[in-house]
């Protein structure tokens, strides 16, 4: 009994000590309280697995009241939001490849006339099927909902009373859907390229996030600062080795993606290499920034995880980007993974060119420069 009492007392002393240390580390304590709540609210409202209001381009070669009714019906399904009106096929193709729209609805010339003649013409709907989750339910809704609504508005109510048999008549027009890039809706084709970005984010951030705090914790920073070396020189010297590590990782993952998961390489591999380099550099810069903000290695790791979660959840890696509310999309635009996913999926699956990805290239570059700027500014040249 005495042994148990003694043991409990020692455990009690240990618990007490742990609590004191926990409360003393302000950053960790704040993280414990605020971050879970913040993330719950953020992700709870942002994530939507049956996405609606997906960006859609309409290539209208026929402008008529019928086509307007059809487009209104399409939007009324809530799955589609007509955001672009390209003037030709090349422009529509670019919108689809760059990921700005998920669907292109093409209304052929003379469409209304063909309907009047009872020729049952087709509306061509091209869908970006790289992410099956985003496109499948929308495409399923298209035929059924739009047809019913158009029929009711323009044919049933005007021409044919209920039960006249017209409902069973051949449809006045039909949708021809064309799932592009991943027609078989293989999930891996979407996930595996995404994993390349996700894995690189994790490893690159951790490497550099620890680099400055480690020097401070071990006391070597004082020696380093007392030497004639500039902060920028320290940063470049610390980041450069990991660019090579990242390039190696990327090559391995990409090789496995092609060999094990049959991920196609439709686009230009050289472009992908350059952009992967940019992505690696961006993540290393952000990790380095964390390193200059954190007071110790534990905090650096915590920051990395706090940052990693939105990257996974909001970037479009796990859930369709287009399904998120606008404010969440704006947050996601500040995350490098969002841009890189568009690049890697675009190049591998859709054959996107640098012209298709120019917005993402710019976005990633801006994020990198901001991170580097903060890192150099934050890096304390003195111990003040």
């Amino acid at each position: 009994m005495i042994g148990v009492a003694g043991s409990l007392r020692r455990i009690g002393a240990m618990i007490r000590k742990e609590f004191i240390q926990l409360m003393r580390d302000r950053v960790s304590f704040a993280a414990m309280v605020s971050i879970p709540l913040l993330q719950l609210i953020l992700f709870g409202y942002a994530i939507n697995t049956t996405p609606r209001h997906l960006p859609t381009a309409v290539l209208a070669y026929d402008q008529s009241s019928l086509t307007r009714s059809i487009l209104a019906a399409i939007e009324n399904t809530k799955y589609f939001s007509i955001t672009h009106h390209p003037v030709n096929e090349a422009e529509a193709e670019h919108l689809l490849r760059s990921g700005q729209v998920l669907f292109v609805v093409e209304i052929p010339a003379g469409f209304e006339r063909a309907v009047r003649r009872g020729e049952s013409p087709s509306l061509l709907v091209s869908a970006d099927a790289t992410d099956p989750v985003a496109s499948t339910s929308a495409l399923a809704a298209l035929g059924r909902l739009v047809e019913t609504s158009v029929r009711r508005e323009r044919f049933n109510l005007e021409d044919a009373p209920e039960g006249s048999g017209l409902e069973k008549a051949p449809p006045p027009f039909e949708f021809r859907t064309h799932p592009r890039y991943n027609p078989a809706a293989v999930t891996q084709l979407n996930i595996v390229p995404g994993l390349l970005g996700t894995i690189l984010t994790m490893t690159m951030l951790i490497f550099t996030a620890l680099s400055v705090t480690r020097e401070i914790e071990r006391g070597t920073m004082e020696t380093l600062l007392a030497m004639p070396i500039r902060p920028v020189e320290i940063m470049v010297g610390k980041i450069a080795p990991y660019v090579m590590v990242g390039a190696m990782q990327a090559a391995m993952i990409l090789g496995a993606a092609v060999l094990l998961f049959d991920v196609p390489v439709v686009g230009n591999l050289a472009l992908l290499t350059v952009l992967t380099g940019l992505f690696i550099l961006t993540n290393l810069s952000i990790g380095y920034t964390f390193s200059t903000l954190a007071q110790n290695q534990l905090q650096a790791v915590q920051m990395t995880f706090m940052y990693f979660l939105p990257n996974i959840l909001l970037s479009g890696f796990m859930f369709p980007f287009a399904g998120m509310p606008t404010w969440a999309q704006w947050i996601a635009e500040t995350l490098p993974l969002t841009h890189y996913l568009r690049m890697v999926r675009g190049i591998l699956l859709k054959g996107a060119t640098s012209a298709d990805l120019v917005q993402n290239i710019l976005g990633l570059s801006v994020i990198m420069l901001v991170a580097m700027f903060i890192a150099v500014k934050r890096f304390r040249q003195t111990l003040d």
Partner: protein, 327 residues
């Protein structure tokens, strides 16, 4: 100063140019530094002549490390100005660093790099012309042959200290700032360390060394005593002792601890320090001290002898008085 980095051939010429610069390696006035509301260094001025060994003494937390960090540009003083090796400490920090070797209180080489890798790294950062040769030379000078592949973190305390000093002097600095370099080092290693410091001084290197050890203070050409961020005394050991105007008696008797407690209460006695079987007693008012001593004449078990103040007596007196002033 970037010439040193670019052109190794100019090294000697530059160094001699530096050596013929101003007479003072360190010349600073009115340095102050606060962290939050805590003023760590207050209006500190000091001058250290070239080629001197300058001892920097003071209790823990007195501002020694902060002062050293301000001298090598690791901290920016709130107030004050001055020069290090003739260069402005406020604006020419980087140039100063190139010619200053700073040895931190805590071992701060890379524990996970080998002895040789550490030395080569430092040589390359400072732009020493042939880094590998310089490191090899330093390893021989340190007596670390055969251990150059050992990780620096695995060395014993004494060897770590030697390596840290070796790393400090590898880029041939004009000024060494050593922050408690001999803390936790055994007496033999300390002796060797001081021999090396004197050799360096003989070659013209200026050395500022902070320490807690009185015997080390006496090995310095000049000393400065700092407490609560203020410089309290400065000069040669003899000057500092003479300047204290302290008069001392040594009293021997049974139970010196009880005697010391008793003596502390006696008016005229300002300083009481038990010292083995005897007690050092001191005061600055000679007459008052002698009256105090005379009041013990009836106690036959006590033996009183006049004594001269030691450096330690002087420092304890200084710190007692400065505490009265500042706290």
């Amino acid at each position: 100063m970037s010439g040193r980095e670019v052109d190794g051939g100019d090294l000697a010429a530059q160094d001699s140019a530096l050596a013929t610069g101003p007479d003072y390696a360190i010349d600073v006035q009115g340095l102050s530094k606060s962290f939050g509301t805590n003023q760590v260094v207050h209006n500190l001025s000091m001058r250290v002549r070239r080629g001197q060994i300058y001892g920097f003494l003071g209790p823990n937390g007195s501002g020694k490390t902060t002062t050293i960090r301000m001298l090598c540009g690791l901290l920016t003083p709130d107030e004050g100005h001055g020069t290090c090796l003739g260069m402005d400490i406020l604006t020419q920090g980087r140039a100063i660093r190139r010619h200053v070797g700073y040895m931190t209180q805590k071992f701060s080489l890379y524990a996970d790099l080998s002895v040789r890798e550490n030395l080569e790294f430092i040589a390359r950062i400072y732009g020493v012309p042939d880094a590998e040769a310089a490191a090899a030379e330093a390893i021989v000078a340190l007596g670390l042959e055969g251990r150059e592949r050992q990780l620096a973190g695995d060395l014993s305390g004494g060897w770590k200290q030697r390596l840290a000093l070796g790393a400090c002097i590898l880029p041939k600095p004009q000024l060494l700032l050593l922050d408690e370099p001999t803390a936790g080092v055994d007496p033999k290693a300390r002796r060797e360390f001081w021999a090396q410091i004197h050799d360096l001084a003989a070659e013209g290197v200026t050395v500022l060394v902070s320490t807690h050890y009185m015997d080390e203070a006496e090995r310095c050409h000049e000393i400065a005593y700092i407490a609560y961020g203020e410089l309290l005394a400065q000069g040669t050991v003899d000057e500092v002792v003479a300047g204290s105007a302290l008069h001392m008696w040594r009293v021997t008797g049974p139970d010196p601890a009880a005697l010391a407690r008793e003596l502390m209460e006696v008016p005229g006695i300002e300083l009481v320090a038990p010292f083995g079987t005897s007690v050092h007693v001191g005061g600055r008012d000679r007459a008052a001290l002698e009256r105090a001593v005379a009041s013990f004449a009836a106690r036959e078990e006590l033996v009183w002898r006049p004594d001269s103040p030691s450096l330690e007596d002087v420092f304890i007196d200084l710190i007692n008085r400065s505490r009265d002033n500042f706290r």
